[in-house]
Symmetry: C3
Subunit: 400 residues, 3 copies
């Protein structure tokens, strides 16, 4: 008899069904729906300055690859295991025209052509038939970009207008280490969670009011303490929001932020500086549970982005308890786990931007699975340049 | 021909079949037979003193949970992933009436009620329908207890007589860190092996004579060098043993030790102090391969339990080789692996207590699977107090 | 239209099928084809000097075992989990006639016989029926050898002629730690890759010219810069190569190296010292992804093998980048991964020795699966001694 047992608690955690991620959006390896979708776009791999004649291992879209620059300055992105006997070309040496495996000396160009097989009779009569698996790369905006999709579907690498128009006193500041958690260079180079956590964050203007403004301390500027009125809107190849705020001093500002398929953002100045956004960011999936945040931003020449500090300490200098006191984007997103359990989420009105992004992604993932081209892929050189609407736009006072 | 090969060895390790744990007794996650059985009892989680306004992660019965105390002093045990978007409430801040998520500010009471949704229109018109998964908790004996089972089956938290009768100069000494291996505070807070290893140890009076007394050095007292004569006996909700020893000095002692379902022990003084047992211990399954030993013991006010030392060194100060020289309970139980392979055991006459305990557990696990209530669950407040028979009882010399 | 997309790259890494190891040759656990094959031969476990009354854990052929020497000097190799209740005998103490478990005092001889059960009535009336799983061992050449196969198939432990004929000023130098990577005692005791990586290396004379001679620096001697002319040849129970070189100074040398089933090598002096090989090596599978390289070599009494140094630094003192500059056998083999993906290899003319070895192994693995005895197993004491053809043999100049 229940009555013998006293009052019966309600809503307890007992008996919950198992929960799971939305794998359609989170699995990025070869052959996975999102993996194939992501492979239809050029992805930034590393800053150009970090691609040198010293071979370096990178993981991207669940694939372990090797990136280097040959002696003539050409960047290369190769499958790392030598096609001959599988020793990693990480142990190879770069020469003017390629990279040579340490074990038996096979040499490959940045496009995987086999240039030498020194132990073979006649230097390898059939070496022209050998090809080390490789991916096409390009350099632009201080970044090395890769195309990891089907060869016949290779699109153009877009130009984003905000990165094309660089003032005389400006330069592009390029980051390829996920900002190391709050711009701390000793933080993690790769964020230990799904790309979707950061992607969700882009169309989420409300967390700015809570996490960054009122929860612990002012992490951007005091003006974000005002809860905005927000409109979300689909654009041709993405989603934007317009967040309107009437500030305490009477000024009114429309903050427009942009998400472009598949993983591209242009966030306006978080210091609420007036005018158009100064840069682009890319949430590159490393694997299902890691992402690398890459960005290129116009800054005054010589300016250096400083780590965010709390009581003088950078992220890596803080204890776990100190981080509990002032959580930031890294904690909020890592706090969702290596990959969130989307089946147990409760999306509400203020999550409309996230819902729109995810719907866009699911539609285009299905489109790619059905053989189509996703939105945002550019094939026509006349449409190479993408207009980015982001910015902080202060409304003009009506003249008295 | 075998004869060509010389003598043929017998009994070698070649060709043994694969071995396995007794999963009926060792798997403690939700839905597992032992997991569901364990969930029918209140379990101690942490010492009250360790439950504060600083949220803390705990794993218990294979579930990752968050424990904290709200600003009004109420302990709470919540599912850690915020029901809204999954960020861990570990990064939340405690307020007088609950805990607030860092990401979008949802606030929950210690019973999971959603108190605020600040980014939603009208502060969340439907927030009353939202419920963060939670578990009921109680505080008693300096411990926070949780009930993780079906709501309609929630029993009373028992009172054990040895903890109820506290002398004026006594207080309860509460330990929630598994004693850190031989009471070394730098030892592991959670023991890296199945709860069953420690549970088996309770009804095993014979290892006292070997491991603790004659194998390396005297770890308790010299009197335990005498091999006891032992009777095992079922009681209503457990098993006890009576170990009789005639000591070298002519004294005779009956040592009674108690195991109560499902994971409760009351071990008499290991210094062979005369009289009833002074405390209770609990072998709480953390997951299938870890357990946390919690205990509450009456001690003189201000007394402090000192680490066990060998040649002046605590457990964590000893090298592996030094620990090989003087293994103790931690080594014997960790030495069975993360979870023992019960199919290859050879239980013998001296293991009768262990066999009785396991039979008891298997019977009641089946009873719970069939919908019944296990022995040891108390529903009637008149039966709330449990009498514990443990103690070291010296026989009176017959008057001359 | 493809033409809209510009030039289409060829041979990219996109769309490669999944690749896999040759599990027939790499899986060495009980019941696996290669595991059963390997178990038909005696395998060296550790150097005799490292087998003492201090029990030590070893893994071999995927099995975790315990090796020790009893108080009378007999080596023993036992299944580590006590047959009684599963506590590891690692925590046991060695006595003159065996090892005693710490928990309940059962004692076992080096052949697993149960000598004592102290807590049992009458000291264990049935203890003669108990047997701790064990493996036969022998000592020879400063090594402890184990036979882990079916008892009725136990062969003789071969004698290799190069280890039998020891000069008066010589002694056997025995190594059981895989040389710790390039003879650095601080390097890994066990190599973190499949035994097949090292086994492949034995019949691969060409990598000597690349990896060890021309890729970075001279790791053996300058003479190996000459690309050899090589013949490979099956012998009764293995494969040999004869590498002919005409040196710059006019000398001509035939270098003969030997691989014997299943994992045995005799490599001639890598300093190109003239004459027969001085020792034997054994690539013992630890598990599917680790191996232990054991060797016994005749050396002048008191001689000590020095670590290989680059710019004064041993392997463990070098940074990853310094190791990239001068990779050696460890890097080339570890660079193939924990276990190589043989399905994507491209074996060519210069890999003929490797192909022959693998064919030999696959044939004999099938033979064992069909119930036969593999080549190299010796049953007849008259054939106990194996002649090893390895050596550096300089051709005599024709008298003028």
């Amino acid at each position: 008899m229940a009555s013998d047992r006293g009052s019966i608690p309600t809503g307890t955690a007992y008996g919950r069904p198992p929960q799971h991620p939305n794998h359609t959006l989170t699995k990025v390896g070869p052959g996975e729906p999102c993996g194939e979708y992501m492979r239809r776009f050029w992805q930034p791999v590393l800053a150009s300055r970090n691609v040198t004649t010293r071979p370096r291992e990178v993981r991207i879209l669940g694939e372990d690859l090797l990136i280097f620059r040959d002696g003539e300055g050409r960047p290369g992105l190769l499958y790392p295991r030598c096609m001959h006997r599988g020793t990693s070309l990480f142990w190879g040496h770069v020469e003017p025209d390629g990279i040579r495996c340490c074990y038996h000396g096979w040499k490959f160009s940045v496009e995987g052509e086999c240039l030498e097989q020194p132990c073979e009779p006649d230097g390898g009569a059939n070496k022209a038939a050998a090809r080390q698996p490789w991916y096409p790369v390009k350099e632009r905006y201080g970044l090395v970009w890769a195309y990891m999709g089907p060869a016949e579907k290779m699109p153009l690498l877009p130009r984003w207008d905000v990165l094309e128009e660089i003032g005389e006193d400006e330069e592009l500041s390029v980051v390829d280490n996920s900002f190391g958690a709050h711009r701390d260079p000793n933080g993690p180079e790769v964020a230990p969670y799904s790309w979707l956590h950061m992607n969700d964050n882009i169309m989420d203007p409300f967390h700015v009011q809570v996490l960054h403004s009122t929860f612990s301390e002012i992490q951007f500027v005091k003006e974000f303490e005002v809860m905005p009125t927000v409109d979300f809107e689909y654009i041709e190849a993405g989603v934007i929001y317009k967040a309107y705020r009437k500030l305490d001093d009477g000024r009114e500002v429309d903050r427009i932020s942009t998400w472009l398929a598949p993983n591209i953002m242009s966030v306006p100045s978080t210091q609420l500086a007036a005018g158009r956004s100064m840069g682009m960011g890319f949430v590159v999936p490393v694997d299902d549970t890691h992402c690398r945040i890459v960005s290129a931003m116009k800054m005054p020449k010589g300016a250096v982005r400083q780590p965010y500090r709390v009581k003088g300490k950078t992220w890596s200098e803080m204890s776990l308890e100190e981080r509990q006191d002032v959580p930031n984007d890294y904690e909020a997103q890592a706090g969702q786990g290596p990959v969130s359990l989307h089946s147990e989420e409760h999306l509400v009105t203020s999550d409309r931007g996230i819902a729109m992004q995810r719907r866009f992604l699911e539609q285009d993932i299905r489109k790619v699975m059905a053989g189509g081209d996703p939105r945002g892929v550019i094939l026509d050189p006349a449409q190479e340049t993408v207009r980015v609407p982001s910015g902080n736009f202060f409304r003009q006072p009506v003249a008295a």
